[in-house]
């Protein structure tokens, strides 16, 4: 059942008109209703089922060039007319504006017809699996782990569902609604044998397809985890040093996401913290690198029918053959930096104002086979599974390597653990010298100024000629 229906149009028009009449150059309202579910299974039993319902609004008021491109944002759980007007008053007050009685803005003609991206998705919540089905699948996963892996101390399966109904209205005529469904399902283990310990996890992410949980292959996920656990349980710590590395495809793309992607968001340009500001048309990476961010691909975790400012997403070529082509921009980014909006205005929820954020971000496939990359290295590191990472305010980044192997004379050698890759984007991007032909993407979460959003990272196998590897 739709909650954000045409009933809201009149109330939203009142807010937008009132805000404009008070002197705001633009007023935007983001409404959200969410239905979330978390389920956890440990060993042979379900230990937690946690439903949550949220609803709220984010009201944002802008003043334009003549007032220094300022904005005020207020979020509230009170969706009554009085509650929303109170939020608007507070946002106006932040910019030194005051509501002008019941006056309406002369140049605000009301909202156009709703652009509804959610019509065909109305049944998604009901079609997504119930707790019984979820529990059955999680327990199947933990049972498969017991079957395939050894020395297990703990086995876990976890599921989360995030169903979101959103509506965006702005005084520039934006009026759109969408329904979104994200599901994740993961298995993890902790194995221990004496002093040896290893923890391994895999997570499957699905967007917009309620029945995707049913196609998840518990057995192959458990076998994959078991194989990694068996390898990493007795792995030695990597020797620290500077090496050539090969990063595996799929989640290996986190290196581009962290090291470069964030620096191509206009939020970084606004702060003056991107080394790539003003460099469109210049080479910033090796000519082997073409990188894309898009929100269009079917089933990918970062895909969106509209961004959180009501704009349809695009396919944005960020880097082409090493040359910087574009930045990712949202409404405020366009105002403040002049970079055109790319449908990248995203936020975790109503509690955050939108900011330019990545969607599905990947390095494009190259001409080589993965074996050619590994074969080109005498002494290096193969990063098969990457962990998390982060980027600092001067562009320095770090990533942990969950599963690594030495490369010796062009061949994979013994497994190693405890590696951390560190560097900075300007230095490392020109060192990505070879890209393989096996592009693949992986679901993930990205935390930044507008909260945690669903993304995919991706790449083919890539070779970095030299990078610092922290170890022991």
């Amino acid at each position: 059942m739709s909650f954000l229906d045409s009933f809201w149009q009149q109330r939203l028009e009142l807010l937008l008109s009132t805000g404009r009449a008070a002197g705001a150059d633009l007023v935007e309202v983001f409404l959200e209703r969410g239905d979330r579910l978390g389920v956890m299974a440990e060993q042979e039993r379900v230990t937690s089922v946690s439903p949550a319902f949220v609803s709220g609004a984010g009201v944002r008021v802008f003043r334009g060039k003549d007032h220094g491109y300022r904005d005020g944002f207020v979020s509230t759980n009170d969706l009554s007319e009085a509650g929303l007007l109170q939020a608007l008053d507070q946002a106006l007050g932040m910019l030194g504006l005051e509501r002008n009685g019941a006056a309406a803005a002369a140049d605000f003609q009301g909202l156009p017809e709703l652009k509804d991206y959610g019509t065909s998705k109305q049944g998604w919540l009901d079609q997504s699996p119930g707790v019984s089905v979820i529990a059955e699948r999680l327990l199947e996963g933990t049972a498969r782990l017991e079957q395939h892996a050894q020395h297990l101390q703990a086995r876990r399966g976890s599921y989360s569902r995030d169903w979101q109904e959103v509506m965006v209205a702005a005084s520039d005529g934006t009026f759109a609604r969408d329904l979104r469904l994200h599901q994740t399902l993961g298995l993890s283990v902790l194995a221990a044998d004496g002093e040896h310990r290893a923890s391994v996890a895999r997570r499957f992410g699905s967007t917009d397809h309620p029945d995707d949980l049913l196609v998840w292959d518990a057995d192959s996920t458990a076998r994959d985890i078991a194989a990694s656990t068996g390898t990493m349980l007795y792995a030695d710590y990597v020797d620290a040093g500077t090496y050539p590395v090969v990063l595996a495809n799929k989640f290996g793309g986190v290196i581009f996401h962290e090291a470069c992607g964030h620096l191509l968001e206009t939020t970084q340009l606004e702060r003056g913290t991107s080394p790539f500001a003003g460099r469109i048309g210049e080479p910033i990476a090796h000519e082997a690198v073409t990188a894309i961010d898009e929100g269009l691909s079917n089933r990918h975790f970062g895909s969106i029918a509209m961004d959180d400012e009501g704009l349809e997403p695009q396919r944005t070529t960020l880097i082409e053959n090493g040359v910087l082509k574009a930045f990712l921009s949202d409404r405020a980014g366009e105002w403040r930096t002049g970079q055109p909006r790319t449908g990248s205005g995203r936020r975790q929820s109503y509690a955050f104002s939108a900011a330019s954020r990545m969607r599905n971000t990947f390095i494009a496939a190259g001409p080589h086979s993965p074996a050619e990359l590994i074969g080109s290295i005498d002494n290096g590191l193969y990063c098969k599974v990457m962990g998390g990472g982060s980027v600092g305010p001067t562009g320095q980044f770090n990533f942990s390597v969950e599963e690594g192997y030495l490369i010796e004379n062009g061949e994979l050698g013994k497994p190693v653990k405890g590696a951390t890759l560190i560097g900075d984007a300007e230095t490392v991007m020109p060192r990505i010298s070879m890209c393989a032909n096996d592009l693949d993407l992986a679901a993930g979460f990205c935390g930044s100024v507008s909260g945690s959003v669903y993304v995919t990272v991706g790449q083919p196998h890539v070779k970095v000629d030299s990078i610092t590897v922290g170890g022991r």
Binding site: V39, R45, V46, S48, V49, S50, P51, A52, F53, S55, R70, D71, G72, F73, V74, S75, T76, N77, D78, G83, Q86, A87, Q90, G93, M94, G96, S132, A135, Q153, A154, L190, R197, A198, S199, Y237, A240, E270, R271, G272, T273, S353, G387, G388, G389, S390, P393, T394, G395, Q396, N398, F399, S400, K417, G418, A419, T420, I422, D424, G471, R472
Partner: protein
């Protein structure tokens, strides 16, 4: 305002209608204001009115169900209770939580009064002034790209069918200034500082400016460090971050789940050098997040976790305490499966055991790495394995002179770290996460770019 009596009556009536006699509820509401500035102008101004409620019920089989909701109205409560009743069909019968028997104990209120909030335009002016003063500290400081001044006022309640009616109010404010500096031909460097208080008036703005400037300037002259094994001295913040990342050492829930570095029988074992002691103190006056009760209504208290290097106690919820045959310690969250977490660490010397090597002085050291702050703990800490490999900001101290390290990681094992402590240096300092002196550790692996 949260009306405990009204909420209790509403939920009692709803539970009765569902035939439920055992229930509890946590609820909170808050108002927030925050500002960011950019080169003398307000950049982003934010406000929020937040509310949340979580309801747990026990059905006739003793299974627990839980549901959360952002709507504190009667409709929201009804939705939460109904959802919890439905979820209880899937509750775990083997290890279900129960109401905390300590939830109705008398409670000593915390001695603090919520402070008045400041108007947002006043906050903007305070932050613009702070930004400018920081920019004026050194010609190389070009921007303060990350900055913020925020204030919050909120309250929370815990109620249950045993008659518990807990309520508390709190206010807080924070200021952070993160400067970016650059000199010709050299890489940009950055550093920052944070100050917390119960209200904006309590914030040490000048101290925050001075610390951010001093740190940023200290990193302008940098050099790579040779990879190797070093004696390190951790700042209080850095060492508390490290201990916090490995708090599963003390976590009874993690012990029971097999995810801790400790086992049930680890109590009484020597886990650190004898002069090392660690307490958890939710009620410490310097703990701005201090709370008088946990998510199950259990009173909080100061607890010794490691005394004289010996593991003395675990942190408990009602459920873990029951399994260990002890009393809950006031560290529970609220859930179908109840989480356990520490509050605020106090690290210091064991009475009568000295502070380790009293001759160590980081200002006169030679060949020592001074770790000021650790980064990316979410990625570089393997809590269940004890291992860490973390980027850090800091200095190499040679002949008493310190020079910033360009980019490096520190790696080790927390169990080894606790056994390799050389000394506490200086007085314990208050930080947002706890109280701790500078801590000397020998034999840590440093990877640099030299």
């Amino acid at each position: 305002m949260l009306n405990s009596d009204l909420l209790h009556d509403q939920l009692s009536a709803l539970a009765q209608n569902h035939g439920l006699s055992r229930w509890d509820m946590g609820a909170s509401c808050s108002t927030d204001l925050s500002v960011q500035v950019d080169r003398g102008k307000a950049h982003q101004l934010k406000g929020a009115q937040r509310s949340a409620v979580t309801v747990r019920v026990w059905n006739s089989d003793g299974r627990v169900g839980i549901t959360s909701c952002s709507d504190l109205s009667a409709d929201g409560l009804a939705q939460a209770l109904s959802g919890a009743a439905e979820a209880s069909a899937f509750g775990d019968l083997q290890d279900p939580p129960d109401l905390s028997p300590r939830s109705t104990e008398s409670l000593e209120p915390l001695k603090r009064e919520p402070q008045a909030t400041r108007p947002i335009q006043e906050m903007v002016q305070t932050l613009i002034s702070a930004e400018q003063r920081l920019l004026d500290c050194h010609p190389s400081i070009g921007t303060v790209p990350y900055n913020g001044l925020s204030q919050r006022r909120g309250e929370r309640v815990y109620l249950n069918s045993l008659g518990a009616r807990r309520h508390e109010e709190r206010s807080s404010a924070s200021l952070y200034l993160y400067a970016r500096a650059e000199e010709a031909g050299r890489k940009p460097r950055s550093a920052g500082a944070v100050r917390l208080g119960h209200g904006t008036d309590e914030l040490d703005v000048q101290g925050c400016i001075d610390e951010a400037a001093e740190l940023t300037i200290s990193h302008l002259d940098y050099a790579p460090i040779d990879t190797g094994t070093y004696t390190c001295v951790f700042s209080p913040e850095a060492f508390l971050d490290l201990m916090g990342a490995f708090s599963n050492l003390f976590n009874a829930r993690s012990v029971l789940d097999g995810l801790s570095l400790s086992k049930r029988e680890s109590l009484g074992e020597s886990v650190a050098v004898p002069f090392f002691s660690l307490w958890d103190d939710a009620r410490h006056p310097a703990n701005l997040g201090a709370s008088a009760f946990d998510g199950e209504g259990t009173p909080t208290a100061r607890l010794p976790l490691i005394e004289g290097g010996v593991l003395r106690q675990f942190l408990h919820s009602e459920g873990t305490a029951r399994q260990f045959g002890v009393a809950s310690t006031g560290h529970a969250g609220m859930g179908a499966k109840v989480s356990v977490s520490p509050d605020w660490f106090e690290i210091g010397a064991t009475p009568g055991a000295g502070c380790g090597d009293a001759s160590l002085n980081r200002f006169q050291a030679d060949g020592v790495v001074w770790i000021d702050s650790l980064s990316a703990l979410h990625a570089g800490v393997k809590a269940s394995q004890g291992a860490f490999s973390l980027p850090f900001d800091g200095w190499l101290v040679k002949g008493g002179e310190r020079r910033s390290i360009e980019a490096a990681t520190v790696a080790g094992d927390i169990r080894q770290v606790l056994k390799s402590l050389l000394a506490f240096e200086g007085e314990a300092q208050v930080t947002p996460d706890g109280l701790c002196p500078h801590v000397w550790v020998e034999g840590l692996a440093i990877t640099g770019e030299a």
